[in-house]
Subunit: 159 residues, 8 copies
């Protein structure tokens, strides 16, 4: 796990992109008193080093009618089915996160649905995947924190 | 929960931004055979409607030395402390997600740390928050899926 | 537990009332070839014996916007608070059923709410009752059976 | 989920029927200073809208020798058997309620029996349904609340 | 469940036999100022009524080298095997008690063994019974109360 | 744990007493072709050695109206209260067995009651003992085996 | 379990070897004012009696890159596979301890790995052993005590 | 975590010491065709680097009368007491291992005792430590594997 060395300029660029991915390079350049080309080169470098893997939109799921979040713990029949089951889970777009975990579950997923009834159908789809013996669901009553920016700033301040 | 009406053009713009938030509006305009101004107006509209709330970088946490992910279930002493505890959790940047949940936990968090020892310190910090009586931790052995794009495309195709 | 003796006529009257509480006594009388007065006397007798305690409307909660059902298991701090806590639970109209139970819970309730957010507020109200140390919630994804008529017919056929 | 609009008169009619389903329409009419015909039309309208689905007797199960209540959590072998199993459960009249649930159970039922021994036989009947792998039972020591009227009044006051 | 009527004399006889099953009838007769024949007739009557089913020695298992007590919870593959499994359990003399239970276990047993190693062999024998899928064991660190005499006296004082 | 040495004659005497504690010594003597005095001496010896601690009646609890059996797991606030709590439990005659156990419970009891309602009152009495924080109850649906004689015979055949 | 008798000299020899297995016999002899030959004879005697079974190096696993410790609870399909499964576990050198246990697991293991990812591979290897139906893992955040010397000194002081 | 570089000779020395810590350096030297001085220097180096931290005797605990092994899971009242509690645990020599763990326990210990009764006393001593709210015990029925040598050989072959 060879870590990439980032200097002060890189950190400041990242700090600005974390707050708004769409910040134009010219704005960043102006703030840091460097050329837009330098910004471009630095970002390119961090993308090639694999530190920046892309960017994603932050949508308001409630406004889009997807207010229902649940965590689904999956028990497999046999662990060697893990890879196969993860591929099937990936085909269900409502499964936005999936982990292989310690503890009582083999796989632990996060799903987003429209409402109780929609969630039931997604859970049934998961339950029907070959190799899954049982699932246990925990419903979110409120997503109080969902924010990686605080962590990103911390990481770059630490580097 | 009054949903905003989006037309075909809006969907196509969103579809492109989902894949790459930094896609220049001129590129989008060219592809959709509309003016860059129209793209700008449409995106503005969706931002004002609150559908697009922003954008975030996707970093490679493993490359950055943050390979350790855990889910922490929190038991409160009394439920009326929920709001207070969530504010304290928000002060720990390693807590990237927190939900009020049904089932045995009151609050359910996701944390990112460098390694076992770092995780221990974060969990101890959580355990020391006033109002928390106990926590239970589940370690991720592999983050196999973490991708909202499949869901976003599905949502916009459905609208 | 001294059981009341019911004869064949009583059973037939009950059978008809079970299917529709509002069936006029004259209709029942006609079907059973007895006088309406006899029906009246018999029903009165069963009410006085305490077998018939009343009647209740069957509403369509989904149509009324109350589609969310959850079961809430309650842990008390001390069991001698049971009676006190049940009186507080009775003041929350969304708690439609409550049992003192064996197993891990002290009290087990059924609640009806509008949606996830409404359920959260009701659960928080329950959690705040003095004497309750913790609750665990199980969400209903579908109320597939809710029908006492099959049992009532069975009971009267058995008597 | 398009809700029906009810006016003040409708609410008052419902309020009276909730307290006693058998209240004659003429009594309701007198109280509300409207004609019995109007009451009839209003009730008809609410029945056709599906808000009122019927009425049911409230019996004293203890007096009838059915004092034993238990909740039975069902684990299925595979979730796609849910529908099939629910149909089998419906054939057992002692199963008065059944839900598809989140959490550790697939289906959660309420049963009424005469005593411990009778309950054992009903649970064995449930256990023998094809597709059910295991059940867990929780016994009610006292049914302290079973009353939908408080909720019904609340709902109509809210509308 | 038709209960037998016992009078004051019967109670006093039972009270003495509870304390020492071997008390000679002549001693009982002397104490109660009745004839030994009457004692004999009364005891006979209670035996025939099935109230007294026999008597058993109270041994000191620790002195006999059987100091190890464990409770074993049994999970069956299918409940219809209950009767068959109980017959197999009865063939293991170390299983002194077995119940069909509610809760997570299907059958719950008490076993007495010489030591940890002996207990292991008995548990393995139980685990190997056809139809048993799994067992869970709870070890007794001390048998603090094992005494039915207090209850017997209470019952007879109540009658 | 110094074990007492028993010879063949002792075993045969025990074997007969196990089957019926009230077997007269003269009968035992006749069967074993020894004098009644010898039987008396041997039994005395085993009583003094503490192997035989007494004898108890076997009653038919169902006929006596005590058909309800439950196992109650007790959680203590602090373990040093164990002795105190056991003394309180001993004052409740319906607690016929109590063990200090490994696993999730501190103390594990067996209770006999008349019915569900009676069991509730006993459990409430247990719950109210100072030092007990919580209890969990498991109901017996059928006492299928309760027989120490098979074990006693085995032990004496082994000696 | 016939225990070997050890005298004061034996204890003192053991006490020194416990602190450092490599202490030369001449050093021990000097301290105890006996001949090195006597030390040799005593140690030989204790080895032959099987009390001393050997000696092992204490390595610094963290320095060697093996900082990750986990406990893995194993559920078997059928208990008669226990011996077979233990033989397979023995072929995985990272399984340093394995016990047959009471409670919910059949077998309970301790494993040492390099990191989360390595642990995942070892757990998958365990999960794939024929006869194992499921495993549950508990991660060590810190090995705070791992020291048998305190116990060894206690045992020898007690003898 | 800077790892020390070890060469082939070091590995072979370690391999021999792992099998028998008391192997004289002259024997090792002969086998590897190097001087005893070289062996001495190499071992010294590994000790100074902290890789070899010492050596310990392997005793036969069963022969010494310590046949009883249990795992004790500890729940703390508050996590900030962890360090304090670990210091108290270290004063009980029967606690040979203790970990801070994820999952439901805060601390997880291994204890060795003489028998059930001795174990009870040790567990009670643990339970009485200030800051511990509850413990759960799992008994070992057989220590099937306890062997770090297989892992040590693997580690040195890997280096």
């Amino acid at each position: 796990m060879t870590k990439v060395k980032l200097d002060e300029i890189d950190h400041q660029i990242l700090d600005m992109l974390i707050d708004n991915t769409r910040t134009p390079f010219t704005d960043i350049a102006k703030k840091l008193l460097i050329s837009a080309g330098t910004v471009h080169v630095r970002v390119k470098k961090m993308e090639e080093a694999g530190i920046i893997r892309g960017s994603s939109l932050t949508l308001d799921y409630v406004k889009l009618g997807y207010a229902f979040i649940a965590y689904v713990g999956v028990f497999l029949e046999k662990t060697h089915q893990t890879k196969f089951v993860l591929e099937r889970l990936e085909q269900i777009p409502n499964v936005t996160v999936a982990h292989i975990t310690t503890g009582k579950f083999n796989i632990f997923c996060k799903i987003r649905a429209k409402d109780t009834n929609h969630a039931k159908n997604i859970i049934f789809k998961i339950d029907d995947i070959e190799g899954i013996s049982r699932t246990e669901t925990m419903i979110s009553l409120e997503e109080s924190i969902n924010d990686k920016k605080r962590l990103m700033h911390t990481i770059f301040n630490e580097l």
